[in-house]
Amino acid sequence: MTSSGTPLVAVVTGAASGIGRACGEAMRQAGWRTAGIDLNASGTDLSLRADVSDPAAVAAAVEQVTDSFGQIDLLVTAAGYYEEGIDVTDITIQQWDRMLSVILGGTVNCCAAVLPHMLSRGTGTIVAISSELALAGSATDLHYVAAKGAVLGFIKSLAMEVAQTAIRVNAVAPGPTDTPLLAQDSLWRKPDYLATLPLGRLVKPEEIAAAVYYLATEGSAYCGEVLSPNAGAVI
Protein backbone atom coordinates (compact mmCIF):
# COMPACT_ATOMS: atom_id res chain seq x y z
CA MET A 1 0.00 0.00 0.00
CA THR A 2 1.15 3.52 -0.62
CA SER A 3 1.04 6.07 2.16
CA SER A 4 -2.21 7.37 0.67
CA GLY A 5 -3.75 3.92 1.03
CA THR A 6 -3.99 3.21 -2.70
CA PRO A 7 -2.95 -0.36 -3.41
CA LEU A 8 0.15 -0.70 -5.55
CA VAL A 9 -0.18 -2.36 -8.95
CA ALA A 10 1.97 -5.17 -10.35
CA VAL A 11 1.96 -6.39 -13.94
CA VAL A 12 3.32 -9.92 -14.21
CA THR A 13 3.93 -11.69 -17.49
CA GLY A 14 3.79 -15.46 -17.56
CA ALA A 15 1.42 -15.18 -14.61
CA ALA A 16 -0.54 -18.34 -15.37
CA SER A 17 2.10 -20.76 -14.14
CA GLY A 18 5.41 -21.33 -12.43
CA ILE A 19 7.51 -18.36 -11.38
CA GLY A 20 5.11 -15.80 -12.85
CA ARG A 21 2.21 -17.26 -10.94
CA ALA A 22 4.21 -17.31 -7.70
CA CYS A 23 5.17 -13.65 -8.24
CA GLY A 24 1.55 -12.65 -8.81
CA GLU A 25 0.45 -14.54 -5.72
CA ALA A 26 3.19 -13.00 -3.56
CA MET A 27 2.22 -9.48 -4.62
CA ARG A 28 -1.50 -10.15 -4.09
CA GLN A 29 -0.78 -11.58 -0.67
CA ALA A 30 1.06 -8.35 0.16
CA GLY A 31 -2.01 -6.31 -0.78
CA TRP A 32 -1.05 -5.32 -4.32
CA ARG A 33 -3.46 -5.37 -7.26
CA THR A 34 -2.14 -7.70 -9.93
CA ALA A 35 -2.54 -7.91 -13.68
CA GLY A 36 -1.31 -10.97 -15.51
CA ILE A 37 -0.26 -11.13 -19.14
CA ASP A 38 -0.07 -14.69 -20.39
CA LEU A 39 -1.16 -16.87 -23.30
CA ASN A 40 -3.43 -18.54 -20.76
CA ALA A 41 -5.79 -17.17 -18.13
CA SER A 42 -4.11 -16.36 -14.81
CA GLY A 43 -5.43 -16.05 -11.28
CA THR A 44 -4.54 -12.38 -11.08
CA ASP A 45 -6.99 -9.53 -10.43
CA LEU A 46 -6.89 -8.67 -14.12
CA SER A 47 -6.14 -11.64 -16.35
CA LEU A 48 -5.08 -10.55 -19.84
CA ARG A 49 -4.34 -13.05 -22.57
CA ALA A 50 -1.61 -11.92 -24.94
CA ASP A 51 1.57 -13.17 -26.60
CA VAL A 52 4.46 -11.11 -25.19
CA SER A 53 6.35 -11.46 -28.48
CA ASP A 54 3.63 -9.34 -30.15
CA PRO A 55 4.37 -5.65 -29.41
CA ALA A 56 0.88 -4.45 -30.33
CA ALA A 57 -0.78 -7.07 -28.15
CA VAL A 58 1.47 -6.15 -25.22
CA ALA A 59 0.78 -2.43 -25.68
CA ALA A 60 -2.96 -3.10 -25.71
CA ALA A 61 -2.74 -5.25 -22.58
CA VAL A 62 -0.73 -2.62 -20.70
CA GLU A 63 -3.27 0.01 -21.72
CA GLN A 64 -5.98 -2.15 -20.20
CA VAL A 65 -4.03 -2.24 -16.96
CA THR A 66 -3.68 1.53 -16.76
CA ASP A 67 -7.35 1.95 -17.75
CA SER A 68 -8.41 -0.43 -14.99
CA PHE A 69 -5.98 0.43 -12.21
CA GLY A 70 -4.68 3.88 -13.15
CA GLN A 71 -1.05 3.09 -12.40
CA ILE A 72 1.70 0.50 -12.72
CA ASP A 73 4.23 0.28 -9.91
CA LEU A 74 5.92 -2.98 -10.81
CA LEU A 75 6.56 -4.97 -13.96
CA VAL A 76 7.78 -8.55 -13.63
CA THR A 77 8.70 -10.20 -16.92
CA ALA A 78 8.51 -13.94 -16.30
CA ALA A 79 6.93 -15.13 -19.57
CA GLY A 80 9.04 -17.71 -21.31
CA TYR A 81 9.47 -21.32 -22.23
CA TYR A 82 12.32 -23.78 -22.22
CA GLU A 83 13.79 -26.35 -24.58
CA GLU A 84 16.68 -28.57 -23.55
CA GLY A 85 18.61 -31.51 -24.85
CA ILE A 86 19.34 -29.99 -28.26
CA ASP A 87 22.90 -29.83 -29.53
CA VAL A 88 23.83 -26.42 -30.87
CA THR A 89 24.09 -27.68 -34.43
CA ASP A 90 20.56 -29.06 -34.20
CA ILE A 91 18.90 -25.83 -33.07
CA THR A 92 16.88 -24.66 -36.05
CA ILE A 93 16.65 -21.04 -37.08
CA GLN A 94 12.95 -21.22 -36.27
CA GLN A 95 13.69 -22.42 -32.75
CA TRP A 96 16.30 -19.69 -32.34
CA ASP A 97 14.03 -16.92 -33.64
CA ARG A 98 11.07 -18.01 -31.55
CA MET A 99 13.15 -18.23 -28.36
CA LEU A 100 14.66 -14.79 -28.93
CA SER A 101 11.32 -13.22 -29.80
CA VAL A 102 9.58 -14.54 -26.68
CA ILE A 103 12.29 -14.16 -24.05
CA LEU A 104 14.26 -11.14 -25.22
CA GLY A 105 11.56 -9.62 -27.44
CA GLY A 106 8.89 -10.23 -24.80
CA THR A 107 10.96 -8.48 -22.15
CA VAL A 108 11.69 -5.55 -24.47
CA ASN A 109 8.05 -5.25 -25.57
CA CYS A 110 6.79 -5.18 -21.99
CA CYS A 111 9.39 -2.65 -20.85
CA ALA A 112 8.68 -0.47 -23.87
CA ALA A 113 4.96 -0.51 -23.11
CA VAL A 114 5.29 0.14 -19.38
CA LEU A 115 8.22 2.54 -19.31
CA PRO A 116 6.48 5.66 -20.69
CA HIS A 117 3.90 5.30 -17.94
CA MET A 118 6.58 4.92 -15.26
CA LEU A 119 8.57 7.82 -16.69
CA SER A 120 5.53 10.09 -16.61
CA ARG A 121 5.04 9.25 -12.91
CA GLY A 122 8.79 9.32 -12.29
CA THR A 123 8.72 6.06 -10.36
CA GLY A 124 8.37 2.32 -10.75
CA THR A 125 10.22 -0.95 -10.58
CA ILE A 126 11.02 -3.46 -13.30
CA VAL A 127 12.25 -6.94 -12.44
CA ALA A 128 13.14 -9.22 -15.34
CA ILE A 129 13.38 -12.94 -14.80
CA SER A 130 16.59 -14.18 -16.42
CA SER A 131 18.31 -17.46 -15.55
CA GLU A 132 21.32 -18.71 -13.65
CA LEU A 133 22.24 -20.46 -16.92
CA ALA A 134 22.97 -17.04 -18.40
CA LEU A 135 25.58 -16.39 -15.71
CA ALA A 136 27.71 -19.44 -16.36
CA GLY A 137 26.55 -20.97 -19.63
CA SER A 138 25.01 -24.34 -20.27
CA ALA A 139 25.14 -27.07 -22.89
CA THR A 140 22.24 -28.29 -25.07
CA ASP A 141 19.95 -25.31 -24.50
CA LEU A 142 22.06 -22.60 -26.10
CA HIS A 143 19.21 -20.60 -27.65
CA TYR A 144 17.48 -20.30 -24.27
CA VAL A 145 20.73 -19.30 -22.53
CA ALA A 146 21.60 -16.75 -25.23
CA ALA A 147 18.16 -15.18 -24.91
CA LYS A 148 18.37 -15.05 -21.10
CA GLY A 149 21.86 -13.55 -21.34
CA ALA A 150 20.61 -10.92 -23.74
CA VAL A 151 17.95 -10.03 -21.19
CA LEU A 152 20.71 -9.26 -18.68
CA GLY A 153 22.49 -6.95 -21.12
CA PHE A 154 19.23 -5.23 -21.90
CA ILE A 155 18.24 -4.84 -18.26
CA LYS A 156 21.62 -3.50 -17.16
CA SER A 157 21.55 -0.94 -19.94
CA LEU A 158 17.97 0.09 -19.29
CA ALA A 159 18.84 0.43 -15.61
CA MET A 160 21.60 2.89 -16.53
CA GLU A 161 19.35 4.77 -18.90
CA VAL A 162 16.77 5.54 -16.21
CA ALA A 163 19.22 5.63 -13.29
CA GLN A 164 18.63 9.30 -12.58
CA THR A 165 14.90 8.79 -12.15
CA ALA A 166 13.34 6.84 -9.28
CA ILE A 167 12.68 3.95 -11.66
CA ARG A 168 14.71 0.89 -10.74
CA VAL A 169 15.47 -1.90 -13.20
CA ASN A 170 16.97 -5.17 -12.02
CA ALA A 171 16.97 -8.88 -12.79
CA VAL A 172 16.44 -12.09 -10.90
CA ALA A 173 18.32 -15.08 -12.27
CA PRO A 174 16.70 -18.21 -10.83
CA GLY A 175 18.49 -21.49 -10.51
CA PRO A 176 16.75 -24.67 -11.61
CA THR A 177 13.24 -24.14 -10.28
CA ASP A 178 10.48 -26.64 -9.67
CA THR A 179 7.95 -25.43 -12.26
CA PRO A 180 6.08 -27.02 -15.20
CA LEU A 181 8.78 -25.48 -17.41
CA LEU A 182 11.08 -28.29 -16.33
CA ALA A 183 9.86 -31.56 -17.83
CA GLN A 184 9.61 -34.49 -15.46
CA ASP A 185 12.57 -36.11 -17.24
CA SER A 186 14.59 -32.90 -17.32
CA LEU A 187 18.32 -33.12 -16.69
CA TRP A 188 17.84 -30.58 -13.91
CA ARG A 189 15.53 -32.91 -11.98
CA LYS A 190 17.94 -35.85 -11.94
CA PRO A 191 19.25 -36.85 -8.49
CA ASP A 192 22.82 -36.88 -9.79
CA TYR A 193 22.53 -33.23 -10.76
CA LEU A 194 20.68 -32.16 -7.62
CA ALA A 195 23.43 -33.73 -5.54
CA THR A 196 25.89 -31.23 -7.03
CA LEU A 197 23.93 -28.29 -5.61
CA PRO A 198 24.98 -27.01 -2.17
CA LEU A 199 21.29 -26.93 -1.24
CA GLY A 200 20.73 -30.34 -2.83
CA ARG A 201 17.33 -29.43 -4.24
CA LEU A 202 15.50 -27.40 -6.84
CA VAL A 203 14.57 -23.83 -6.04
CA LYS A 204 10.88 -23.25 -5.28
CA PRO A 205 8.89 -20.70 -7.30
CA GLU A 206 7.99 -18.97 -4.03
CA GLU A 207 11.69 -18.38 -3.38
CA ILE A 208 11.99 -16.55 -6.69
CA ALA A 209 8.88 -14.54 -5.86
CA ALA A 210 10.42 -13.59 -2.50
CA ALA A 211 13.47 -12.17 -4.29
CA VAL A 212 11.21 -10.22 -6.66
CA TYR A 213 9.20 -8.95 -3.69
CA TYR A 214 12.35 -7.78 -1.94
CA LEU A 215 13.56 -5.89 -5.01
CA ALA A 216 10.08 -4.40 -5.51
CA THR A 217 9.66 -3.21 -1.94
CA GLU A 218 13.15 -2.45 -0.62
CA GLY A 219 15.32 -2.39 -3.71
CA SER A 220 15.73 1.32 -4.37
CA ALA A 221 19.52 1.10 -3.97
CA TYR A 222 19.88 -1.50 -6.73
CA CYS A 223 20.56 -0.48 -10.32
CA GLY A 224 21.13 -3.22 -12.87
CA GLU A 225 21.55 -5.86 -10.14
CA VAL A 226 21.31 -9.57 -10.89
CA LEU A 227 19.98 -11.36 -7.83
CA SER A 228 20.31 -15.11 -8.22
CA PRO A 229 18.43 -17.45 -5.89
CA ASN A 230 19.94 -20.57 -7.43
CA ALA A 231 20.49 -23.15 -4.65
CA GLY A 232 24.22 -22.73 -5.18
CA ALA A 233 24.24 -23.71 -8.87
CA VAL A 234 26.31 -20.62 -9.71
CA ILE A 235 28.34 -19.05 -6.93
Binding site: E218, G224, L227
Partner: protein, 261 residues
Protein backbone atom coordinates in the same frame (compact mmCIF):
# COMPACT_ATOMS: atom_id res chain seq x y z
CA UNK B 1 5.39 -11.68 3.71
CA UNK B 2 9.02 -12.39 4.27
CA UNK B 3 11.34 -9.65 5.35
CA UNK B 4 8.90 -6.96 6.37
CA UNK B 5 10.14 -4.74 9.14
CA UNK B 6 7.03 -5.24 11.23
CA UNK B 7 6.70 -8.98 10.74
CA UNK B 8 8.36 -10.14 13.94
CA UNK B 9 7.00 -8.02 16.73
CA UNK B 10 8.76 -7.97 20.07
CA UNK B 11 8.50 -11.62 20.99
CA UNK B 12 11.90 -12.49 19.48
CA UNK B 13 10.71 -15.82 18.16
CA UNK B 14 13.03 -15.75 15.18
CA UNK B 15 16.16 -16.57 17.12
CA UNK B 16 19.40 -14.85 17.97
CA UNK B 17 21.39 -12.56 15.71
CA UNK B 18 24.90 -11.24 16.27
CA UNK B 19 25.95 -8.03 14.53
CA UNK B 20 29.62 -7.04 14.71
CA UNK B 21 30.57 -3.39 14.39
CA UNK B 22 27.15 -2.26 15.61
CA UNK B 23 28.01 1.02 17.34
CA UNK B 24 27.14 3.11 14.31
CA UNK B 25 26.26 3.18 10.63
CA UNK B 26 25.33 -0.02 8.83
CA UNK B 27 25.86 -2.24 11.89
CA UNK B 28 23.58 -0.17 14.09
CA UNK B 29 20.90 0.08 11.39
CA UNK B 30 21.08 -3.69 10.87
CA UNK B 31 20.76 -4.42 14.58
CA UNK B 32 17.68 -2.18 14.78
CA UNK B 33 16.15 -3.83 11.71
CA UNK B 34 16.76 -7.38 12.87
CA UNK B 35 15.30 -6.54 16.28
CA UNK B 36 12.22 -5.09 14.54
CA UNK B 37 12.02 -8.29 12.49
CA UNK B 38 11.83 -10.35 15.66
CA UNK B 39 15.39 -11.39 16.45
CA UNK B 40 17.13 -11.17 19.80
CA UNK B 41 20.20 -9.20 18.82
CA UNK B 42 23.67 -9.22 20.33
CA UNK B 43 25.58 -6.10 19.37
CA UNK B 44 29.37 -6.03 19.19
CA UNK B 45 31.90 -3.30 18.69
CA UNK B 46 35.57 -2.94 19.50
CA UNK B 47 34.88 -1.21 22.81
CA UNK B 48 31.80 0.00 24.58
CA UNK B 49 31.78 3.77 24.77
CA UNK B 50 28.15 3.59 25.81
CA UNK B 51 26.69 3.27 22.33
CA UNK B 52 26.25 -0.49 22.13
CA UNK B 53 24.98 -0.72 25.71
CA UNK B 54 22.39 1.91 24.91
CA UNK B 55 21.50 0.14 21.66
CA UNK B 56 21.21 -3.21 23.44
CA UNK B 57 18.89 -1.67 26.03
CA UNK B 58 16.79 -0.08 23.30
CA UNK B 59 16.27 -3.35 21.45
CA UNK B 60 16.23 -5.71 24.40
CA UNK B 61 19.47 -7.30 23.27
CA UNK B 62 22.94 -7.84 24.61
CA UNK B 63 26.10 -5.73 24.28
CA UNK B 64 29.21 -7.84 23.62
CA UNK B 65 32.19 -5.52 23.21
CA UNK B 66 35.29 -7.25 21.82
CA UNK B 67 38.12 -6.64 19.42
CA UNK B 68 37.47 -9.46 16.96
CA UNK B 69 41.08 -9.25 15.76
CA UNK B 70 42.05 -10.64 19.19
CA UNK B 71 42.19 -14.43 18.58
CA UNK B 72 40.36 -15.36 21.78
CA UNK B 73 37.60 -12.80 21.52
CA UNK B 74 35.37 -14.41 18.88
CA UNK B 75 34.80 -17.69 20.71
CA UNK B 76 34.44 -15.91 24.07
CA UNK B 77 31.86 -13.52 22.63
CA UNK B 78 29.84 -16.31 21.04
CA UNK B 79 29.95 -18.29 24.30
CA UNK B 80 28.69 -15.28 26.25
CA UNK B 81 25.81 -14.85 23.81
CA UNK B 82 24.92 -18.54 23.94
CA UNK B 83 24.73 -18.53 27.73
CA UNK B 84 22.57 -15.40 27.81
CA UNK B 85 20.40 -15.27 24.67
CA UNK B 86 20.99 -18.73 23.20
CA UNK B 87 22.80 -20.04 20.14
CA UNK B 88 23.41 -17.64 17.24
CA UNK B 89 21.14 -18.25 14.23
CA UNK B 90 22.24 -15.23 12.23
CA UNK B 91 25.67 -13.63 12.08
CA UNK B 92 26.07 -10.28 10.37
CA UNK B 93 29.82 -9.84 9.91
CA UNK B 94 30.10 -6.10 9.61
CA UNK B 95 32.96 -4.81 11.77
CA UNK B 96 35.72 -3.25 9.71
CA UNK B 97 38.88 -1.23 9.95
CA UNK B 98 39.84 1.11 7.13
CA UNK B 99 42.89 3.27 6.50
CA UNK B 100 43.38 5.05 3.21
CA UNK B 101 46.82 5.64 1.74
CA UNK B 102 48.63 5.33 -1.59
CA UNK B 103 49.83 1.76 -2.01
CA UNK B 104 53.54 2.57 -1.91
CA UNK B 105 53.08 4.54 1.29
CA UNK B 106 50.96 1.87 2.98
CA UNK B 107 52.08 1.23 6.53
CA UNK B 108 52.51 -2.55 7.00
CA UNK B 109 50.90 -2.34 10.46
CA UNK B 110 47.86 -0.66 8.97
CA UNK B 111 47.76 -3.24 6.17
CA UNK B 112 47.71 -6.10 8.67
CA UNK B 113 45.29 -4.36 11.00
CA UNK B 114 42.71 -4.19 8.20
CA UNK B 115 43.26 -7.84 7.24
CA UNK B 116 43.23 -8.88 10.92
CA UNK B 117 39.90 -7.22 11.68
CA UNK B 118 37.98 -7.47 8.43
CA UNK B 119 39.03 -10.91 7.25
CA UNK B 120 40.78 -12.90 10.00
CA UNK B 121 38.61 -11.48 12.78
CA UNK B 122 35.48 -12.71 11.05
CA UNK B 123 37.16 -16.02 10.24
CA UNK B 124 37.32 -16.60 13.99
CA UNK B 125 33.81 -15.35 14.72
CA UNK B 126 32.41 -17.54 11.94
CA UNK B 127 34.30 -20.56 13.25
CA UNK B 128 32.76 -19.92 16.65
CA UNK B 129 29.13 -19.71 15.43
CA UNK B 130 29.19 -22.70 13.07
CA UNK B 131 29.00 -25.61 15.57
CA UNK B 132 25.65 -24.47 17.00
CA UNK B 133 24.31 -23.68 13.54
CA UNK B 134 25.27 -27.16 12.37
CA UNK B 135 23.65 -28.69 15.42
CA UNK B 136 20.45 -26.73 14.68
CA UNK B 137 20.67 -27.57 10.96
CA UNK B 138 20.03 -23.94 10.23
CA UNK B 139 21.98 -20.72 10.11
CA UNK B 140 22.55 -17.57 8.15
CA UNK B 141 25.88 -15.84 7.73
CA UNK B 142 25.64 -12.39 6.18
CA UNK B 143 29.01 -10.92 5.35
CA UNK B 144 29.29 -7.20 4.79
CA UNK B 145 31.90 -6.91 2.08
CA UNK B 146 32.34 -3.77 0.01
CA UNK B 147 31.93 -2.60 -3.53
CA UNK B 148 35.63 -1.85 -3.34
CA UNK B 149 36.21 -5.56 -2.82
CA UNK B 150 34.52 -6.10 -6.18
CA UNK B 151 35.84 -3.26 -8.30
CA UNK B 152 38.76 -1.94 -6.24
CA UNK B 153 39.48 1.66 -5.25
CA UNK B 154 42.61 3.79 -5.39
CA UNK B 155 44.38 4.29 -2.06
CA UNK B 156 42.36 1.54 -0.42
CA UNK B 157 44.26 -1.58 -1.46
CA UNK B 158 44.38 -3.25 1.96
CA UNK B 159 40.72 -2.57 2.61
CA UNK B 160 39.76 -3.77 -0.87
CA UNK B 161 41.91 -6.89 -0.49
CA UNK B 162 40.32 -7.71 2.87
CA UNK B 163 36.82 -7.18 1.46
CA UNK B 164 37.58 -9.24 -1.66
CA UNK B 165 38.85 -11.92 0.70
CA UNK B 166 35.47 -11.85 2.42
CA UNK B 167 33.77 -12.48 -0.92
CA UNK B 168 35.91 -15.54 -1.51
CA UNK B 169 35.14 -16.61 2.06
CA UNK B 170 31.42 -16.18 1.33
CA UNK B 171 31.61 -18.37 -1.74
CA UNK B 172 33.68 -21.05 -0.07
CA UNK B 173 31.48 -21.13 3.02
CA UNK B 174 28.37 -21.11 0.82
CA UNK B 175 29.53 -24.32 -0.80
CA UNK B 176 30.92 -25.91 2.37
CA UNK B 177 28.07 -25.09 4.74
CA UNK B 178 25.10 -25.14 2.36
CA UNK B 179 24.60 -28.90 2.74
CA UNK B 180 24.30 -28.32 6.50
CA UNK B 181 21.48 -25.82 6.08
CA UNK B 182 23.71 -22.81 6.69
CA UNK B 183 23.39 -20.14 4.01
CA UNK B 184 26.27 -17.72 3.54
CA UNK B 185 25.89 -14.62 1.39
CA UNK B 186 27.51 -11.21 1.16
CA UNK B 187 26.50 -7.62 0.64
CA UNK B 188 28.88 -5.30 -1.18
CA UNK B 189 27.73 -1.72 -0.59
CA UNK B 190 29.56 1.22 -2.05
CA UNK B 191 28.89 4.80 -1.01
CA UNK B 192 26.68 4.92 2.07
CA UNK B 193 25.56 7.96 4.01
CA UNK B 194 27.22 7.06 7.33
CA UNK B 195 29.51 8.66 9.87
CA UNK B 196 32.44 7.50 7.71
CA UNK B 197 31.60 10.31 5.28
CA UNK B 198 32.72 12.84 7.90
CA UNK B 199 36.10 11.09 8.09
CA UNK B 200 36.35 11.07 4.29
CA UNK B 201 35.44 14.75 4.15
CA UNK B 202 38.04 15.66 6.77
CA UNK B 203 40.67 13.62 4.91
CA UNK B 204 39.81 15.44 1.69
CA UNK B 205 39.66 18.84 3.42
CA UNK B 206 36.11 19.56 2.24
CA UNK B 207 32.72 19.91 3.88
CA UNK B 208 30.36 17.01 4.51
CA UNK B 209 27.94 18.27 1.87
CA UNK B 210 30.75 18.62 -0.66
CA UNK B 211 31.79 15.06 0.14
CA UNK B 212 28.25 13.79 -0.42
CA UNK B 213 28.09 15.63 -3.72
CA UNK B 214 31.47 14.28 -4.81
CA UNK B 215 30.32 10.73 -4.14
CA UNK B 216 26.91 11.26 -5.79
CA UNK B 217 28.69 12.21 -8.97
CA UNK B 218 30.26 8.74 -9.03
CA UNK B 219 26.97 6.87 -8.69
CA UNK B 220 24.66 6.26 -11.66
CA UNK B 221 21.54 6.75 -9.52
CA UNK B 222 23.08 9.90 -8.02
CA UNK B 223 22.09 8.85 -4.52
CA UNK B 224 24.09 7.51 -1.65
CA UNK B 225 22.65 4.34 -0.18
CA UNK B 226 21.32 4.71 3.35
CA UNK B 227 22.33 2.44 6.24
CA UNK B 228 18.70 1.26 6.17
CA UNK B 229 19.12 0.08 2.56
CA UNK B 230 22.00 -2.15 3.64
CA UNK B 231 20.11 -3.25 6.75
CA UNK B 232 17.18 -4.26 4.50
CA UNK B 233 19.53 -6.38 2.39
CA UNK B 234 20.88 -8.01 5.56
CA UNK B 235 17.32 -8.62 6.77
CA UNK B 236 16.45 -10.25 3.45
CA UNK B 237 19.48 -12.53 3.68
CA UNK B 238 18.67 -13.31 7.33
CA UNK B 239 14.99 -13.99 6.64
CA UNK B 240 12.84 -16.71 5.09
CA UNK B 241 12.65 -15.04 1.66
CA UNK B 242 16.26 -15.86 0.82
CA UNK B 243 16.10 -19.60 1.47
CA UNK B 244 17.27 -20.34 -2.08
CA UNK B 245 20.09 -17.79 -2.07
CA UNK B 246 23.58 -19.10 -1.38
CA UNK B 247 27.08 -17.81 -2.05
CA UNK B 248 25.79 -14.63 -3.68
CA UNK B 249 27.03 -11.05 -3.44
CA UNK B 250 24.28 -8.41 -3.33
CA UNK B 251 25.30 -4.95 -4.49
CA UNK B 252 22.87 -2.27 -3.31
CA UNK B 253 25.19 0.38 -4.65
CA UNK B 254 23.19 2.37 -7.18
CA UNK B 255 24.94 0.75 -10.12
CA UNK B 256 28.39 1.94 -9.13
CA UNK B 257 30.21 -1.10 -10.48
CA UNK B 258 30.22 0.78 -13.74
CA UNK B 259 31.99 4.10 -14.11
CA UNK B 260 29.65 6.89 -14.99
CA UNK B 261 28.87 7.32 -18.67
Amino acid sequence: MAGQADSGGRDKQRGVALVTGAAQGVGRATALRLAADGFSVAVNDIADDGRITELAEQIGGLAVPADIADPGSGPAMVEAIASTLGPVHVLVANAAAMAMSPFLEADPDQWWRQIDVNLSGHFRVIQAVIPAMRAMGHGRIVIISSGWGVIGHPNATAYAASKAGLIALTKGLGRELGPHGILTNAIAPSFIDTEQLRVDADDAGISLDEMRQRYRELIPVRQLASPDDIAAAAAFLAGPGSSGVIGQVLQPSGGVTRTRA
